[in-house]
């Protein structure tokens, strides 16, 4: 093939040359070119190598179905691989390189595979590479994994960058009445009718320019007139935007390529934009694709579809060859043959059908096209860089007899047309084979979806326009707009019927014909699949990889299905078709993720004291989506020395901890008490106003869901706290119970987590600290404000607050809550007083140390498989009332005495430590599932050694005077431990009451 640019014509701008490189070689083209058209005009031929046999690949199409010219664009971290050259717009400085070849696509050592191709047939890898050849000796996977390394390197296509993608992407949302997909004759007509009816219309086109097949026409008037009307009517007209998928409820996924065609884009622009468009009605005018057919070496460079040659000629001003053999089986190719001839090529048209209509013949003659009826291409012969001649044959029943050789540099094929049923298939609509037009036709959908134009199997240009009007008038009517009805034209529209042609065979001759040129699926592969019983269309696909290449079967599927039908001796519908899945064409993962990446992957939650904590030396840690102070190191302190100091201080004087991340829920209404009584295991009916109570919630299945405290502020007014981890889940749960189950209760729940900020004031000097903060010190008296008491009062400076005397640390402690905006002020008030008492700030690490010493449970202990008894809180399950989970918590396995129960753990040798996650085993059996596990570990400043919490079969009573082994093979060795009560400090709780 020696394509060249013609002097005039085409939509390119010859006054604007563009320089770029192909495999390092300088090339040039014009504005309006695709990389394919520019390189074709430069006379290049080979642009890729096939997947398996590494056979040379040239340009096979002019669109998204391209299966040959697949290359890499760009460099470094902006390298895009597997780009279809036919869809990439040219820009100044574009860097194009070949892929899947070494050293280059023109000379590729991988082509050795081609000489082995008789062994490398469909599915051969399932039969070997298991063991040592030739008889697969051996066991296990070791040998396979050696082969796999080589196979993986040989497979794959482009070599993508390992660097982070430097570009950014956007998500956008849209709503419309009518979405028209495709802007060819039918799409433009549909958009016109819908817009004239006053509907909000989106016209979406994947190409850079609107017009679809009109872009391959030599005249431009129809297209420009329609577009200007649409623009006047306020239609949203999008280009470079692919409707990649249709989803439920008229939702379409759109990918808009914003900067991929620019050499330097405004950095503020996203590279691509992913639109979620919700349309009341969708009109699919997405066109059809011309098929090729299989013959000997039909994959060699210089074989392309007829429509492609027309597009290159009329859109890009490139004549794809000088000596062209055009082989067709339908009416669509005649005008192209004439146009190519008029542009200066010598054209021989082979029509597989036995007769050519007289009028057509006259036209062909007039254009100087040599034509032969009843002939087609049997085999292509490739020269140094592409096709050099073809062997042609004469029809002989369903087979062919080779006749003579024709020299040529381009073979243009038309094996018929396939309506693009991909998008409607996304909706679960199964297309139906139509023998008269030899293609799969879309059928009506129960959803507001209409096909128009050649996507509906309508070939004739005027009928396509009519079908667009018709589809839109139906849509308008269903949306309540008055329009004139237009009858949907019949499908088809050629003068003489198509002669189905999928594979050209000559009796007694073996040719290598390709069905799927990208994946090297040959006609013989289809027959092999049949021979081995892979006859279902899905088995065919999976066994041969037909249709799994980057074109997803746009090129080869129908030929493959037809050949399987032939092998089975049945009709094509009996074989069926595979399901097309989104996306219609591949879309970048970056666009789908939009802005929610990196630091913005998930929301970041900070407490209103976040900055205050940072200023005062906090190191933060993740707690779900929250950032919480982890520890407050002083000077050279490490995390260990810091938390030990903080915990020690909390037990000796006073310490402050930001506890804002706890969930907070206002529970209000006349039945609030009854509600709490049903959701908590322990009684709430008699909780007096001004008191708080620790409560445990179970799930329906009787396992522990969450714990927290609930404060009674008034007769029908409660304030509940939940764990940080379960705040959202508890809120949803309470709402579900009230709205779906317990319609008898008059209760309202409101999340107030954001409204209140909280700080724990813990330690023997906590009361003294607060005494200096409150406006009325009288409220702090032990008598009026005992353990588990609640007050609402005012702090100095007029800060209103609510305080509960509750303790997670086991010390005398308070939780003080203020409206969020007051919280830095609260800290500014508390902190100097705390400092004056040698107090400190503490973070989650010290919080953990304090609670482990006390045997208080958190998420590590309440892992969703724990009963209230397991957690050592059985006494909190009231025997006198029913509550959520009470029915199922008594199932036999949940009441077994040998269940793992919460225990304290300490090393026998106090110099030793262990880790959370270690397994507890009996001394004589350090193997198997073990007897328990460790959930939390800390150094206890008070006890002077390491301690842990965990679970062990039967609890600490069962392990009295017995040793256990904490074994931790993934980190360190075994440690002998003693199992003790989980309440390791102040078990009577005297400090809290003090």
């Amino acid at each position: 093939m020696s394509g060249h640019r013609i002097k005039n014509g085409g939509r390119i701008d010859r006054s604007k040359p563009i320089n770029f490189t192909w495999d390092g070689m300088p090339r040039s083209g014009y504005e309006g070119d695709s990389v394919a058209s520019a390189l074709m005009a430069s006379g290049d031929m080979v642009f890729g190598r096939s997947f398996k046999y590494h056979r040379p690949r040239g340009i096979m199409s002019a669109g998204v179905e391209e299966s040959g010219a697949i290359i890499s664009i760009g460099e470094g971290d902006r390298k895009d691989v597997n780009v279809k050259m036919t869809t990439q717009e040219l820009y100044q400085g574009l860097v194009a390189t070949g892929q899947n070849a070494w050293p280059s696509v023109r000379f590729d050592l991988g082509a050795i595979n081609n000489s082995m191709s008789r062994f490398l047939v469909a599915g051969f890898y399932y039969k070997t590479f298991m063991g040592l050849p030739p008889f697969e000796w051996g066991k296990g996977t070791w040998l396979w994994m050696q082969y796999e390394k080589i196979i993986r390197k040989a497979a794959g296509m482009g070599e993508s960058s390992r660097e982070a993608d430097p570009d950014h992407y956007e998500h956008a949302h849209g709503f419309c009445d009518v979405l028209v997909v495709g802007s060819g004759p039918a799409g433009l007509a549909a958009a016109q009718t819908a817009a004239r009816a006053g509907l909000n219309v989106w016209l979406v086109e994947q190409d850079a320019e609107h017009g679809g097949s009109l872009l391959a026409e030599s005249s431009d008037t129809e297209r420009t007139a329609a577009l200007s009307e649409l623009s006047d009517l306020g239609v949203t007209i999008m280009n470079r935007t692919t409707v990649f998928g249709l989803y439920d409820y008229g939702v379409a996924g759109l990918l808009e390529r914003v900067t991929d065609h620019l050499s330097s884009a405004d950095p503020r622009l996203p590279r691509q934009r992913f639109w979620t468009l919700r349309a009341k009605h969708t009109i699919l005018a997405c066109g059809s694709l011309e098929r090729h057919f299989a013959f000997g070496n039909n994959d060699c460079p210089g074989v392309m579809t007829t429509q492609a040659t027309r597009t290159y000629l009329n859109r890009y001003g490139v004549l794809a060859g000088e000596q062209i053999v055009l082989a067709t089986n339908n009416d669509s190719s005649y005008s192209t043959a004439c146009e190519l001839a008029r542009a200066g090529a010598s054209v021989t048209l082979l029509d597989a059908r036995n007769q050519i209509n007289k009028k057509v013949a006259q036209k062909l003659s007039a254009a100087n096209v040599d034509y032969r009826a009843g002939h087609t291409v049997v085999k292509a012969n490739s020269g140094a860089e592409g096709v050099s001649s073809v062997l042609i044959g004469k029809a002989n029943g369903s087979e062919w007899t080779a006749t003579d050789q024709l020299p040529c540099d381009l073979v243009a094929l038309s094996g018929g047309w396939s309506p693009l049923v991909n998008l409607i298939s996304h909706r679960g609509v199964k297309p139906v084979w139509d023998p008269s037009t030899a293609c799969f036709m879309p059928v009506d959908s129960s959803e507001p979806l209409t096909m128009a134009g050649s996507a509906a199997g309508i070939w004739n240009h005027d009928d396509c326009i009519k079908s667009g009007h018709s589809a839109a008038s139906m849509a308008a009517k269903s949306l309540g707009k008055e329009t004139t009805s237009v009858v949907m034209p019949a499908t088809g529209g050629w003068n003489s019927p198509i002669k189905p042609l999928y594979e050209v065979t000559v009796p007694g001759k073996q040719f290598k014909g390709f069905v799927d040129p990208q994946h090297d699926v040959t006609c013989e592969d289809i027959r092999l699949a049949h021979r081995e019983g892979f006859v279902s269309v899905e088995h065919l696909k999976r066994y041969t990889t037909l249709g799994m290449a980057t074109d997803q079967g746009k090129v080869g599927n129908i030929i493959g299905i037809a050949l399987m039908a032939e092998a089975l001796g049945c009709e094509i519908p009996a074989v069926g078709t595979t399901t097309f899945r989104p996306p219609y064409t591949p879309i970048s993962i970056g666009a789908l993720s939009g802005q929610s990446v990196g630091a913005h992957f998930r929301p970041l939650r900070r407490t209103p004291m976040h900055n205050w904590n940072l200023v005062n030396g906090a190191t933060m840690t993740e707690a779900g989506l929250w950032q919480r102070p982890w520890y407050f190191a002083r000077g050279v302190e490490t995390i260990s020395s810091a938390y030990i100091r903080e915990a020690t201080t909390a037990r000796k004087s006073v310490a402050l901890c930001d506890v804002t991340s706890l969930g907070k829920i206002a529970i209000q209404g006349p039945d609030a008490t009854e509600f709490l009584n049903r959701i908590y295991t322990n009684p709430f009916a008699k909780l007096p106003i001004g008191k708080a109570r620790y409560g445990i919630m179970l799930r329906d299945d009787g396992f522990v869901m969450d714990d927290g405290t609930t404060w009674r502020l008034g007769e029908s007014d409660y304030f509940m706290t939940t764990t940080t981890a379960h705040a959202a889940k508890v809120m949803v749960w309470l709402e579900e119970l009230l709205q779906t189950r317990w319609h008898d209760l008059k209760v309202h729940v409101t999340t107030v987590s954001e409204q209140w900020a909280g700080v724990a004031v813990a330690g023997p000097k906590s009361r003294d600290t607060l005494l200096e903060c409150v406006e009325d010190p009288g409220v702090m008296e032990n008598a009026v404000f005992p353990f588990m008491g609640v007050i609402e009062t005012t702090l100095k400076g007029g800060i209103p607050c609510r305080i509960a005397r509750i303790s997670f640390s086991g010390e005398m402690a308070y939780e003080v809550y203020v409206a969020s905006d007051f919280s830095p002020g609260l800290m500014d008030l508390l902190w100097p007083i705390v400092q004056s008492k040698d107090g400190c700030l503490y973070g989650t690490e010290a919080l953990g140390a304090l609670r482990i010493e006390k045997g208080h449970v958190t998420g590590a202990e309440l892992d969703g498989r724990v009963t209230i008894e397991d957690a050592g809180l059985g006494k909190m399950a009231s025997p006198n009332k029913s509550f959520i989970g009470s029915a199922l918590r008594n199932r036999p396995d949940m009441q077994r005495h040998d269940r793992p129960r919460l225990v304290g753990i300490k090393p026998v040798d106090h110099n030793f430590t262990f880790h959370a996650g270690a397994i507890l085993c009996s001394e004589d059996k350090v193997e198997g599932l073990g007897e328990g596990w460790i959930t939390g570990v800390t150094h206890s400043p008070e006890l002077g050694h390491w301690i842990g919490l965990g679970y062990i079969s039967g609890g600490h009573e069962a392990w009295y005077r017995k040793r256990a082994i904490a074994t931790d093979p993934v980190r360190k060795g075994n440690v002998e431990v003693e199992i003790i009560s989980p309440h390791m400090i102040d078990p009577s709780g005297s400090r809290m009451y003090g």
């Binding site: 409820y249 939702v251 329906d700 949803v732 579900e736 009230l738 709205q739 779906t740 509550f883």
Partner: protein, 97 residues
Amino acid sequence: MIRINCPFCGERDHSEFGYGGDASIQYPALDAPAKDWIEAVFQRENIAGVQQETWQHTSGCRMWIVVERNTITHEIHSVKPAHPGTKTLLANAGDHQ
């Protein structure tokens, strides 16, 4: 994307909602025998077709709703508030408009 017509907020993407579960389940009284609870908590009719199910408009009004939806096609036939009391409220709100 399923579009759910929230009785309180109007039609919204399903991603604003949280899926609850089978709305036909009648949860027994809290003091009912374990057998009844096992049936309600663990057994599912798992309808392939039109089922009543609960959703919550978590990113909207936080209301729980009962949706009649086809589990094969995702087509929604009806949507109503889960709490019968809110139905009355909605009706009254309609009167005032």
